[in-house]
């Protein structure tokens, strides 16, 4: 369908696939031999497409010190790369200072290969099947013309946001707080399509499928396929979207069309959406089972052996707040007695009741001024003015409390192997004088 891999990228895929096959068939002993001889293939060009040989650099660049900053067309160069294959980049808290996160500053999370950009977005097809009375096959063009579009500003947050706070480290990309952003999404409530299709009484759960290829190159293997309880799918804020901040949804963010399942782990918000199958039981696709997007029912010893039977699906994301100005590491002139803070806070399916800030490691707290969300699932911006007693080194901590009274902890707790639910307080350090 829309994923047409062509040109040099296809060469790259072929190369990856053949190298993989080679590895798979010959084992490590053979690799060892090759290492001594021809490998790395990509540097001397033996056995690889000519295009690569011509383009191959003389040597791999030296590893960068400090965070690796993103270089990607249309994206802010302040984003921090967590991985390049798959491409994952987070937004430092200080770049989340806009009320609406601009596309250039929005974090990037991929699980598989990035598809080619759709040449004819309106011809992109979405299928809704499974436990429905009438299967729907609809193009994006038809979706736009036949259904009533809505625009809502809503947080999208990676399920692993805050993972870096776990000790010992949990498996996966080491997100700090930057796997989140809040954009204006335009699309159609999924519920409108599900009503049109007619849910059977057996409809319990969704299963989402997309056009991005698994990293192994296996076209028969979904990169990731998650789903949600039917109640969440029917929430009027769960949208099939094609525009972000009023612009066509960029390919890197799942364009031309993706799901937005606000408040829940971002992986439920399938990018490059092609199909939603309604199931009569909990979905069991890649990303649904064992420890994926799951937390422990009975708290486990950090770093210990986990039992899959003790795990349940992470649904709503936990409460979180970030200081978006000043930036961590900011310096102020000697004699500065007052600091103006700005920040954002959100709480998955809930709202934020209050945000407090501290400059004395939590010994005392000051209430921030908190805005109301624009609509449900919007984040809530906050401001505070801090008085500083002296010059010197200060840490500023921010702590949000959700509408049910749950506060952010000092450390990521309830350790789990893949590090979900980490919402330790954000802290920045500033130097005065």
């Amino acid at each position: 369908m829309a994923r047409e891999i062509g040109g040099d990228t296809a060469e790259g895929n072929k190369f990856e696939t053949s190298r993989r096959r080679f590895l798979g068939s010959s084992g490590l002993a053979a690799i060892g031999a090759v290492i001594g001889g021809a490998l790395p293939l990509s540097r001397n060009g033996i056995g690889i497409p000519q295009a690569h040989a011509q383009a191959a650099p003389a040597a791999a660049p030296a590893p960068a010190k400090g965070p690796q900053l993103l270089k990607f067309p249309g994206k802010n160069e302040g984003l921090v790369v967590l991985g390049e294959k798959p491409l994952v980049a987070e937004t430092p808290e200080s770049l989340l200072d806009d009320d609406t996160t601009p596309i250039e500053k929005f974090y990037i999370r991929n699980n598989g290969q990035i598809p080619e950009e759709a040449k004819d977005p309106d011809a992109w097809k979405i299928t809704i099947d499974g436990e429905v009375n009438n299967k729907i096959e609809i193009t994006l063009g038809e979706l736009k013309s036949k259904y009533k579009a809505v625009t809502r500003r809503m947080v999208l947050e990676c399920g692993g946001n805050g993972r870096a706070g776990f000790s010992p480290p949990a498996r996966g990309n080491q997100w700090t707080n930057g796997g989140a952003g809040c954009a204006e999404w335009t699309g159609v409530p999924l519920a409108d399509l599900l009503k049109k299709a007619g849910l059977k009484p057996s409809a319990k759960y969704t299963a989402h499928y997309a056009a991005d290829l698994h990293l192994s190159g296996d076209a028969g293997k979904p990169t990731i396929s998650r789903g949600v309880r039917i109640e969440k799918a029917m929430d009027p804020n769960t949208l099939i979207v094609w525009a972000m901040n009023g612009k066509p949804l960029p390919n890197i963010h799942g364009g031309p069309v993706r799901l937005i399942v606000p408040g829940w782990a971002g992986s439920a918000s399938q990018k490059w959406l092609t199909r939603i199958t309604i199931r009569d039981k909990e979905h069991d696709g890649p990303g649904m089972t064992e420890f994926s997007y799951r937390t422990a029912i009975k708290p486990m010893v950090p770093g210990g052996k986990a039992d899959p039977a003790n795990f349940r699906i992470l649904e709503s994301m936990p409460v979180r707040s970030i200081i978006t100005n000043p930036a961590n590491g900011a310096k102020f002139a000697a004699g500065t007695k007052e600091l103006k803070l700005r920040g954002a806070s959100w709480a998955g399916d809930l709202t934020v009741k209050q945000v407090d800030v501290s400059t004395d490691f939590g010994a005392s707290w000051q209430r921030a001024t908190l805005e109301k969300p624009k609509n449900r699932y919007d984040w809530q911006r906050w401001t505070a003015t801090l008085k500083l007693p002296t010059d010197g080194y200060f840490e500023i901590w921010a702590r949000a409390t959700d509408s049910k009274g749950a506060m952010q902890p000092h450390q990521a707790g309830f350790w789990n192997p893949q590090g979900y639910g980490g919402n330790a307080m954000h802290r920045i350090a500033v130097l005065v004088g």
Partner: protein, 116 residues
């Protein structure tokens, strides 16, 4: 034509010419030498990078048992070719030595920007 040539020149530095520069992304090519030295590094590097960047591995800090869980997960769920006992031993020994759980505990990935 000039544009295309210019792209090729740029692409030369990027290793692969992006077919659609707006949206494709070519990972920087990694080499084993960039990562923690140790016996088994090359074998580990090539076993993992058949699919994904080694940076994903190097981000982690885990015990041998957790590394073993990770490898089992890759084999079970992500098409990684099974390892024989000798290779498994070599790779696990490298990973537990080069990427153990990080100390100090509880700092949460937060780094004091003023620390020297």
């Amino acid at each position: 034509m000039m544009v295309r040539l210019a792209w090729l020149a740029v692409a030369g530095m990027l290793w692969i010419a992006p077919a659609m520069a707006q949206t494709t992304f070519t990972p920087r090519e990694e080499s084993p030498e960039e990562f923690s030295a140790g016996a088994g590094r090359d074998e580990t590097f090539y076993a993992c990078t058949a699919c994904h960047g080694f940076r994903l591995v190097a981000q982690q800090g885990m015990t041998r048992a957790q590394w073993e869980d990770s490898i089992n997960l890759m084999i079970r769920r992500h098409n990684m070719p099974p390892l024989d006992d000798k290779d498994r031993e070599k790779i696990l020994t490298y990973l537990e030595t080069a990427y153990p759980p990080r100390a100090p505990a509880g700092r949460g990935g937060w780094v004091n920007p003023f620390a020297k």
